[in-house]
Symmetry: D2
Subunit: 232 residues, 4 copies
């Protein structure tokens, strides 16, 4: 498994799809996923994203929030937490914890204490600017932001069809939530400046490739700004 993997070049298709993408501001929402201290604050993270990546995505997410606020796109912050019985009940998590394996390759994770409700790890990153009109969803208990949460009810009530996704981890919550959005017929646009992974840059990159080639769009903040000027 250690030999390099050569990505197939589908850039012509991807570029044409990007060009065709139109964003209807009235039917779009920004969703941040798991931007919590347990992931993005190197001081307390129980499942740490590498430090440089933390800074990169937090900066990206605040830019995204500024853009959305300016043109009136609703912002929804989705966060997760795990009551103690939940970790014990999961067969894969339980197997990893029993064997004292680290979920993260670059630094030891401490998943047994990952984001208990009310813990510092479960807090939204203090850097993230939250307005009183933003929506908060803290019922997420697993990867997919739709599963066991009120997110779909809220999105349907808001008339939202397109999701601008940001947060972590690219290959777990972001990818699973992209599948969750796809199967419910939402248009998914992932902001590459706003997503990162604790599990390795290889899985981060491949998740974005998988999304571009079969699930939705991956664009930069600069490309988003261009799109919104075109759409506006």
């Amino acid at each position: 498994m250690k030999k390099p993997i050569n990505p197939i070049d589908r850039s012509p298709m991807i570029e044409r799809m990007k060009k065709n993408l139109l964003l209807d501001v009235k039917r779009t929402a920004v969703i941040t996923i798991d931007c919590q201290r347990g992931n993005l604050d190197p001081k307390v993270a129980s499942l740490p994203v590498p430090d440089l990546e933390c800074r990169r995505v937090l900066s990206g997410i605040n830019s995204l929030i500024a853009i959305a606020s300016k043109i009136g796109i609703p912002i929804i912050h989705v966060t997760s937490a795990y009551e103690e019985p939940l970790l014990r009940a999961h067969p894969f998590v339980q197997a990893m914890l029993s064997a004292k394996e680290s979920f993260t390759p670059h630094r030891q994770s401490d998943y047994a204490r990952h984001k208990r409700p009310g813990s510092p790890e479960a807090e939204l990153m203090p850097e993230i600017i939250v307005r009183t009109t933003d929506y908060r969803i803290d019922s997420k208990r697993t990867f997919d932001m739709f599963y066991g949460t009120q997110l779909e009810i809220l999105l349907r009530a808001l008339g939202v069809e397109t999701l601008l996704l940001a947060g972590c981890n690219t290959n777990t919550c972001v990818l699973s939530s992209t599948f969750g959005a796809y199967i419910r017929n939402f248009r998914v646009v992932v902001l590459s400046d706003c997503v990162a992974s604790a599990y390795g840059e290889d899985l981060h990159h491949f998740s974005l490739l998988n999304i571009q080639r079969r699930l939705g769009w991956v664009i930069t903040l600069d490309e988003l700004k261009e799109k919104l000027e075109i759409a506006g």
Copy 2:
């Protein structure tokens, strides 16, 4: 995106996890996903898996079925189909079809006619040996085998906790169904000899890496046989 991606080496962790894996035959089921002519029969496939890969996985799946039949593990064949309004309603599919893009890189896909209910493309591959006691689920309408199907009801009634997964495509239905199983607390074991992708070998490999490092187990048929002798 064309430069090679070097996978992080997590083989020590993966090997230890494999060694620790115990299979309880009474609580295990085989699930085949989308083993249909629209995917695996090169003559009619509207979303074709490469020919050699078709032969590899069909051979693998029949071996898996033989193993499961021998020791009394239930087998569930899940297949998908798309009524015409479904394809038109999906924003990503619609964008791809409007732009006349191919979903598959090695050969042109024909997704607009992909697996209508009752069509030859929607048929289960004739090579696959189905016993009258096997279960059939044909309500799948999107990637995740759980979403909009009776699969979870059936698995809970059977007392199943561990899923042996086979079928296609590794980076879409298999990966999405692995997420679907993980979030519902099932133990997922993907048989590497029994999965393939129409979207490129890179995404096939990445998906297996992602599963091994965060979601479940990926083993060969030989490893499965060993496990079952140990467990038996």
Copy 3:
């Protein structure tokens, strides 16, 4: 529990709500629920609706189908079946079967053999006229027509917002499906000429009262015809 229950009179509210109801033919579908021989064919029914009620609703449903066909409203037939492990797995069903209790008050039910997949009991009533363009959903395994079925996917793809409901039993599948529709933001209109119950006329009536007073609309076929002329 044997003393009469006096229904509160909310008829002024109900009448005003009926008057205000507008049906958009382009966003409406007819759904028949469990119109199967196991329920409505007195000769083989394992959970029998009283004979006179069978005739009443079958006649009503064929009128409803004729109206819908005439003006191009899509028709979806949802049916249920129970693999043997499903009945054994349910705590209430199991308790009833162990105690040899009848589910139905007027005649002994035979729930242990109720609607196995492929059985005569699971067949759609032969009297019901099905066109090749109608949709069939046979993945239903419990009361709620949405739970574990592809129904919501189909309705969203068709752009349907209003459901005209028919079938049985009023206090179980119809009521549970009405709740299922309500919580997903569909407008529910139950046709009183087209629903019946095997569990007793009291529960049939109260279910309709509950729907009218808190969940949706209950109208006759004559009222439907009037509405459609107004809307047309």
Copy 4:
């Protein structure tokens, strides 16, 4: 609709089923539903339960909590709230609000301001004694306590199979949640001393009849105490 409805007498079956009911304390949880000021505090209620009924169920629920605490049964408080777009998006709610209809027959409801997140109406009743070890679920946005909430994830992790239900309203959230529990194979036991309705005593009674005859058990607190002594 104003003439009395005579309930069918199924008391012999119901009594036998009650007698057979066994409660496994290790696999049972108490769930309170919507015990909030917007329902049960006559001073601020936007959807008021009649005053005497408020007192009856609050007293009952505190007894239930005392019993559960004593023998170590987990307690889960589920509450609901409605962001403003949610009310506007629902076709039945919207029709009722547009026509200025009251949801409640005995006193005018004020549904347009019903339980906004963070409002006094959304608070759990202060009379209810909550321990730090109790679970809180506040993601409920519609009738069914399972739909769009993390409840099922929590119950599965706790190994719970039997639910002791309390709260309001009997014919909406309690009944819909009973259906939600039934279709997910949970055993439902409703405590008659602990449920009430703002919509009329007739619908309250009918809902309990419907549960007893087809969905689960309805028992008093005294019967519960007896059962738990037997089981203990």
